[in-house]
Each structure stands twice: as structure tokens, then as C-alpha cells.
Symmetry: none
Subunit: 143 residues, 2 copies
DNA sequence: TTACTTATGTTTATTGGTGAATATATTCAT
DNA sequence: ATGAATATATTCACCAATAAACATAAGTAA
């Protein structure tokens, strides 16, 4: 299970070191793809395969399902961690998530998310404002 | 069952000693997360895992469910008690709860809460004022 | 081929997490 | 009250993770 958030830097060769804590569970072979809210998703291959299968089975008739799976599938790229635990981020994904030097790597259960650092901070403040109201949901979850 | 409140200090390496009384029940491996009312929650791993599983299964498609699980999962961090019973508090959580040097550690049945000391005092006085009224609600809940 | 660019791999330095030791405070029993 | 025992606070020193710089290899175009 991936949890926690880290700030790392992308070097001038577009490489990003994955936090030590995530490496073991992530494995060497991973898949990176366009995520929701302008971030990138990074999956261990196994998780990805399961997800891809689901995406492939979405009804071709519905245009938004089509759009969603196109974005995820066509946007995907397999990347390997090198000897120092770094991945190479493809240009089009780097652009998509408007990644600069500082990025946030967040653990979200079965995937990692990669964010532009400022965007992440914005998103967080915005979301935290409403999260107290969501406290009710916590109750439903048995917290 | 965790009960009672303690005032402890965070050292300059952002470490916080857990009160001796809580250590045995808490265990070595714990998870610290964003809590409600700007405090932090500290769970024994088992308690956390049950919660995390529910969070992990929330639908990725819905934006507020996404926001919620991002805050809870990415906001969480597993921390181990070191040989002196201390935990390391990540920067972003320290900020979130605006922790200074003095913090309050309170036992709340199945979790601990970590508060900024002044905020805790404020919260307490504020809450004690209204506690009489709350009595009625308690009745409704069968206490 | 040669120069040049891009990708990949390695080395070094700095930062910050980790562990141990000492000092201070608190509690309890005499 | 006094001292012993236990708990907490603080400090110092070490090690590991990350970031940056450097070096090598591979590919591309003139």
C-alpha cells in the first residue's frame, strides 16, 4: 500500500528519483500514464494490467468512456527504474502535467501520483477546505 | 483503549516521544494522518489498514471521492517508534496541524490525537462551554 | 568519419533521518 | 523531605538518501 507525499526534483535529463520507501513495492517495471486533475499516475505493471483490462472493456458506444480510456491507454508508457531508482519521464507527459523542477510524488494505495509542486499545494488547500464537511463521510467509513 | 492527555515537546529534528502509557498498546508500527479540526491522528497499523482499504476502493471517477482519498492516503505516513519511543513527524503534517514545540497527545479510544498545545486549550474551553447542550445529544445516542 | 546531440551510467557532496548517550524532570517509596 | 527509579528532553555523531555534477556511450546529421 502506497501512502505519504514527497517532494523530489527532476534533473535536467528529465529523470525523477522515486522515493526509497516506494521502490520495493513498485518493482522495477512500471507504467506511467496521464492521470486525472493534471497529474500523472504511476503503476506497478501488475496493477496496470488489471486496470488496462477494465479500460479495454468499457463500452465503445459511450463517448466519454471512449475518451477516458483513450487518454489513459494511449497516454501510457512503460518505464523502468534505473540503478538509482530513477524513471525517465516522456516529454508529452511532462508537458501534460506541467512538471517543473520540483514535483510531488504521492502514494495513493495502489498507485503513485506525480504532481507539479505548486499545483499540488493549490489542490491541497482547495480540497482541505471542503474536507471538513466531508467528515460525515468519515463516519460512513467507520472512522 | 487510549485515554488521557499529555503535553510533550517536539525536538529540533521533528521527533516526538509518545507517552509511555500508550506505547504498548500502540505497537511499534503506526500510521499518522491528517485528522479533523487541524489535529493529527495516530493509529496502530491494524486500525489503519482497515480504514485504508475502504479509502482505496472509493471510485476514482468521482472528483470529491478522489480528493478525499488523496487527502487521507497521501496525507498518511507510516512511522515507527524508535528505541526511545519517538516518532518522526513529516513536514507537511507538522504544518497542517501547525505544531510548535509544545504539543498535546490525547488518547481517544482507538487512536491518539496530536494537537498544537494552544489550539487544544482553545478547543477545550470552547467545547466545554457547549458541553451541557451536547448532553442532550448524548442522550439521543444512548449514553 | 567527424562533430554534435541525446540518452544512459557513475561519482561525489549535501542534506536530513537515525541511533545512542547524557542531562533534566517527574514520580513514588521510604 | 530525601533519594531511587523511571520517564522525558536534549545533544551529538553517524549513516543513508537524494541532488547535482560529471563521464561515457550511442545515435544522428553533415
Amino acid at each position: 500500500m502506497f501512502i505519504g507525499e514527497y517532494i523530489h526534483t527532476v534533473d535536467n535529463k528529465k529523470r525523477l528519483a522515486i522515493p526509497m520507501k516506494f521502490r520495493k513495492e513498485l518493482g522495477q517495471k512500471t507504467v506511467i500514464t496521464r492521470g486525472l486533475d493534471n497529474c500523472l499516475f504511476l503503476y506497478p505493471v501488475k496493477e496496470w494490467e488489471a486496470l488496462a483490462e477494465k479500460l479495454g472493456k468499457l463500452p465503445v458506444g459511450q463517448s466519454d468512456a471512449r475518451g477516458f480510456s483513450r487518454m489513459m491507454l494511449a497516454g501510457a508508457m512503460d518505464v523502468e527504474l534505473d540503478s538509482l531508482g530513477r524513471i525517465l519521464i516522456p516529454d508529452y507527459l511532462k508537458q501534460y502535467a506541467s512538471l517543473g523542477k520540483k514535483v510531488v510524488i504521492a502514494g495513493l494505495y495502489n498507485r503513485l501520483e506525480i504532481w507539479n509542486e505548486e499545483k499540488w499545494q493549490e489542490y491541497k488547500t482547495k480540497t482541505l477546505e471542503t474536507v471538513e464537511k466531508m467528515g460525515e463521510k468519515l463516519g460512513e467509513l467507520g472512522v
